[in-house]
Symmetry: C2
Subunit: 288 residues, 2 copies
Amino acid sequence: MFEQLGLIGCGLMGGSFALALRRRGLVRRIVGYSPRRQSLERALAMGAIDIAASSPFDATSGADLVLIAVPVSATAATFAAIRDTLTPRTLLMDVGSTKCDVVDAALQTLGEHLESFVPAHPIAGKECAGIEHADAELYAGRQVILTPLEQGRTDLLQAAETLWTALGSTVVRTTPQEHDAAFAAVSHLPHLVAFAAMNAILGQTHAAEYLALAGPGFRDFTRIAASDPAVWRDILLANRANVLQQCEHLHSQLQAFTTAMRAGDAPALDSLLHRASTARARWTMTSS
Amino acid sequence: MFEQLGLIGCGLMGGSFALALRRRGLVRRIVGYSPRRQSLERALAMGAIDIAASSPFDATSGADLVLIAVPVSATAATFAAIRDTLTPRTLLMDVGSTKCDVVDAALQTLGEHLESFVPAHPIAGKECAGIEHADAELYAGRQVILTPLEQGRTDLLQAAETLWTALGSTVVRTTPQEHDAAFAAVSHLPHLVAFAAMNAILGQTHAAEYLALAGPGFRDFTRIAASDPAVWRDILLANRANVLQQCEHLHSQLQAFTTAMRAGDAPALDSLLHRASTARARWTMTSS
């Protein structure tokens, strides 16, 4: 049981975390901050937060649990703004989709409070951003990746694991480097491609007719293209070396297909398709 | 009410069509043929068909409704095999995802029976192939594209529309050329990319670890990569000119993203992401 959650960022991720803690009775008081007045009011109205703070500093003052749920490029400034409110009993986490940049920001700004920080990335989300889509069960049955720092306190890491587990998540530990390499492949590149695929259609004369004919395959393939642009701008920039490398991998595989298609090479296509189809049919999402 | 459905191909699409007709009491008897003995037995056991025929010819003899539900490359041979069973009261349809090649096959093989043929493409499916996944409601709430021939009979076209409407589908008419151009963009390219994205990961040393971390975004983006390889080999070859053109469109858009990422150009990324996200958030699948 935490006394006070200081929540910075009252969007989908932060709002869902607040609702999840509240539903499970894991926190006594939630003080939220958002630069967007509307999000803050909505969070209050929904009961995601008890108090709307007028600054990050105010939201985290007195908090024994702090969650930073902002686009990753805002992490460093947020750390700097709240650093002096951290105490030895504060557990500080983020929910960023990239970890190397968040850890760098922590190293540069947190100083003696580095020990409080447990970098976290819950593998959950929705294509629709904003507190209005917040969901107390968003993290249930999902993995949460923690990339603990050498300088981090073991008791706080343990508290973080206990907390996410209580929300129904499965906790996985890895390094920021391994995290960012893996998520470039299984999340960042798919998002990039979904965005690009939408734009590729929008640029064509018959875009509207084409989109009117699209079915369930298109719906699912492009679902993530509706994701929050500000969040994804930051992710694509923060993890660009890995994402660009994944682009190369995809490019090679697309070329294998187009070469086979141009040559009318049915056996080659068969082989490429079987490999993908078999692997995808066998794959199931890890969940708790 | 039809007397007899002659069903060629007892897989997901054909089986679902049979079950849908039966549930709605639109057919008295269903005679099915599949080259795979197992599919035929399963179709019988599930009640999708009443009689297992030993040849396409036997399945369609005496039928007033014929559905060809085979990979598109098998269409011409199937037409040739059943042609002599067609009568002036037979409505002949297919469910192929490409239409120019199916129409060509019809022109080359059906002769005087061309008038019976109404090319059809229901925008429905599942990533899992086979009669065991057949579903009487697969076509409900989905669009069905008809690309009628000049030589086709108006009364049969009307009968086709009435039939699909009775299954809960919304009927759209277009030309084979427009159909194939549109579906290259909204279906064939997405499938190709999903297949290639799976293979791109499988080729990497850490594929298994990466796949174990993947979440709901990856699940939906790659769902169609589990689709039937034989069906997709045929589609990618039959519609390759359009699909290759769509690859070029996607390639240009991916380059716009990678250029912005390499340059660290946040405003350019913002603009690309907003365009895609706004359009995808506004899009909804057309349904009945």
